[in-house]
Amino acid sequence: MRIYEQLFIIRPDASEPEIDAFLEQITGVINNAGGRVDKLEKWGVRKLAYPVEKRHEGYYVLLQYGSQPDAVKEIERRFRVSDLVLKYLTVRIDEKLKWLQKRQKMREQRSKRKPAARPVEAAAMPGEPAPEE
């Protein structure tokens, strides 16, 4: 099981029921493949930083889910086929989440062990070479 994050842009002129139906489809794919949807956020219509398919606005949706890699393939295929989706980005985040957790734990331990050394720690990060400049 891997955790993925998918941010995609839907045509801004799509109606709300249309979008909901499409999202239903996508979550259906995940559930069928034995995954689980962790998060489904609608950011709403935002301005695009550059025109995509001659549009300057887009309806952003963020989807976070855990599944096997096959589900991603299927979802991306649907994104490409569907004319609702202008653009999508898939990021695998389980490794990053793990790294962040590790990092957080280290921070907590450090602050517990030597609270006096806090200002020094800010200058020289743990596990990293100290910045030269």
């Binding site: 695009l48 930083a49 990021v91 990092r103 200058a123 070479p129």
Partner: protein
């Protein structure tokens, strides 16, 4: 470390006095030591969705600000530039702006 002082050649008269970490560069003008903002504020997660944060590290034209200007440390600049590129891909940040 491989990088010297921001990659700029330092002439003999401007040599640092041993402790090159402190603010003791002998130049005519005083230059404040730049510190990596991510190290300072302890931002671990440089996320491509955080447009507000990322846009502080691109120029008006949409280019990534080099770390010799922004003072970001190498590990963080790497993460930062990756995040900016991801954000560009999904039209959160521009590739260029005229």
């Amino acid at each position: 470390m491989a990088e010297g002082k921001g990659g700029k050649p330092i002439s003999a008269s401007q040599q640092t006095t041993g402790t090159d970490k402190a603010v003791v560069t002998r130049r005519q003008y005083f230059r404040r030591k730049k510190v990596c903002r991510f190290c300072l504020e302890k931002i671990d997660d440089i996320n491509y969705k955080d447009v507000k944060l990322l846009s502080a590290f691109i120029t008006e034209r949409g280019r990534i600000i080099p770390r010799r200007l922004s003072g970001v440390c190498a590990p963080h600049q790497r993460r930062l530039s990756n995040a900016i590129k991801q954000a560009r891909n999904i039209a959160l940040l521009p590739f260029t702006t005229r």
